[in-house]
């Protein structure tokens, strides 16, 4: 479904070459929920922008549904970290969710149905006519998630979407995204710097090294499919997996310093 092959990205910063991504390869199967976790500054966002077709890699390719990515691919949606900047402040919540559907030339009745379903799925059924800036940060990110859902993507990319919300909202949003994934069954790639979050959410965790980034380890999360904040997080297996990821990230950090 989603393949990253020998991807590298170097920047030219004032005559100095900065190798942001060294050599990254991994694949995500259709319908899989994969988390990408790495130390801060390891080029996670760069990697995600390359996958989303917003940034051209220096070498290597990304394939979405066996088609090489050159520009934003069809059927792929992105939820950005900066929810406050990715929603249109001059559009009401429902119009924000609706805009990509209008751009796709979809019929009005169908659009209305998708918008209502998506906002319902994120628990914002009564916020259609609010403006984004009237909502809390967590609710704004829900709107961004609803927009992604309504777009009916086969692949959903999320770039540290919960990094800027408080801990309780974050837990709610984690459960929300699990339920959205279970309900709509898209392929989901979730980038985060939070080790607990990656283990709690994913079926697999791809761990990245420090820059120049490579894949340090690819770990299958063999926790039961139904997860909840209390039960899963107190599961001894969760603690074990979390420790494994933590050790790997620490190791990756030290190798480069």
């Amino acid at each position: 479904m989603l393949t990253v092959r020998e991807l590298s990205k170097t920047y030219d910063a004032k005559g100095r070459r900065v190798e942001a991504i060294g050599d990254v390869s991994f694949t995500v199967a259709a319908g899989e929920f994969v988390c990408v976790v790495g130390p801060s500054g390891c080029g996670k966002t760069t990697l995600l922008r390359c996958i989303a077709g917003l940034l051209a890699p220096t070498s290597g390719e990304v394939y979405v549904e066996d088609k090489v990515v050159a520009g934003p691919p069809d059927g792929l949606a992105v939820v950005f970290q900066e929810y406050g900047r990715s929603l249109f402040p001059w559009l009401r919540v429902a119009d924000n969710v609706d805009l990509p559907l209008r751009a796709a030339g979809m019929a009005k009745a169908k659009r209305r149905e998708l918008v209502a379903e998506a906002l319902d799925a994120v628990g914002l059924a009564d916020a259609h006519s609010a403006y984004p800036w009237q909502l809390s940060g967590g609710m704004q990110q829900r709107v961004a998630i609803a927009r992604a859902i309504a777009y009916q993507p086969r692949v959903l990319l999320m770039d540290e979407p919960f990094a800027a919300v408080d801990a309780q909202t974050r837990a709610d949003l984690e459960d929300l995204i699990r339920s959205v994934w279970a309900r709509f069954g898209m392929t989901l790639l979730f980038v985060t710097h939070d080790i607990d979050e990656s283990v709690y959410l994913g079926q697999r965790v791809v761990m990245l090294s420090s820059s120049p980034t490579t894949v340090a380890e690819d770990l299958t999360i063999d926790l039961p499919p139904t997860r909840d904040q209390l039960g899963t997080r107190s599961d001894p297996r969760f603690t074990e997996l979390r420790g494994q990821v933590y050790a790997q990230i620490q190791k990756a950090k030290q190798e480069h310093t």
């Binding site: 077709g53 950005f80 927009r147």
Partner: protein, 254 residues
């Protein structure tokens, strides 16, 4: 209520001051305010409303609207394109620095002394603040929002409207506000050179005919028109930038 009182308080005091200070005036050039107000309705609400006031306002409206369309259109084009911007920006800064009234004689040679000339004078003055502000606004469009549009394939007209122009709208409105006051000034000036109708023309006529209270009433009328247009602008702005003021209010609370 208190805000309204504060806003109109000082003008009321000043008008009262003018009224009483000029009440016993025998100076030919500074007639009593009461006299100016007495001649006001007969001067402006007669045939002159149709012959002078409306033509003035129509020329202002056409010139201003043309400046809005050209300024926003060209501004979006220049602002969205780095090369075009680098190429034309020094030129624009120069053109903006040319005082528009100086163009009146040149435009008279080119466009004659009819309505066309006056509309062009207004356009040539109103254009720059709108154009330059649009360029600034369009160039500062948020990157995340731009990425959002690319990802969700929002293109063409939807992109132009919802990303480019709406993002730039606070700056565009600021430019349009400046342009409005420039436009009113140029409306009057363009009628003082070579004209057969208009408020500016009529005021000059009154001056030449030593009808001083009438002349003063023209000044009063222009002031009132300025206030009225500013109020209309404020109403339009509240519609266009409701979201912007909403965000600012929310940020102030937090």
């Amino acid at each position: 209520m208190r805000r309204v009182l504060l806003a109109v308080g000082l003008p009321i005091v000043l008008v009262a001051l003018w009224w009483f200070a000029s009440a016993d005036s025998t100076n030919f050039y500074f007639p009593p305010l009461s006299k100016i107000i007495t001649v006001f309705p007969a001067t402006w609400f007669g045939p002159r409303l149709v012959d002078d006031v409306l033509p003035s306002l129509a020329r202002l409206g056409i010139g201003y609207a043309a400046a809005l369309v050209t300024g926003i259109g060209l501004g979006a084009l220049i602002g969205a394109n780095r090369w075009v911007r680098a190429l034309v920006e020094p030129l624009l800064e120069f053109l903006r620095a040319v005082p528009p009234p100086v163009l009146v004689p040149i435009l008279m040679l080119m466009a004659g002394i009819g309505d066309m000339m006056k509309v062009l004078v207004i356009l040539s003055g109103c254009l720059w603040p709108i154009l330059l502000n649009t360029v600034e606004g369009v160039r500062a469009v948020d990157e995340v929002l731009t990425d959002t549009c690319r990802s969700y394939r929002i293109r063409g007209r939807l992109r132009l409207w919802h990303l480019v122009l709406r993002s730039a709208s606070p700056q565009i409105v600021a430019g349009a506000r400046q342009a409005l006051s420039i436009g009113i000034i140029l409306m009057v000036i363009s009628e003082m050179f070579a004209a057969s109708s208009g408020i500016g023309f009529t005021v000059i006529q009154f001056k030449d005919g030593f009808r001083i209270p009438q002349m003063w009433s023209g000044v009063l009328l222009l002031g009132l028109l300025g206030v009225l247009l500013a109020l209309l602008f404020r109403l339009a702005e509240r519609r266009v930038l409701g979201w912007y003021h909403g965000i600012r209010a929310v940020q102030k609370e937090r």
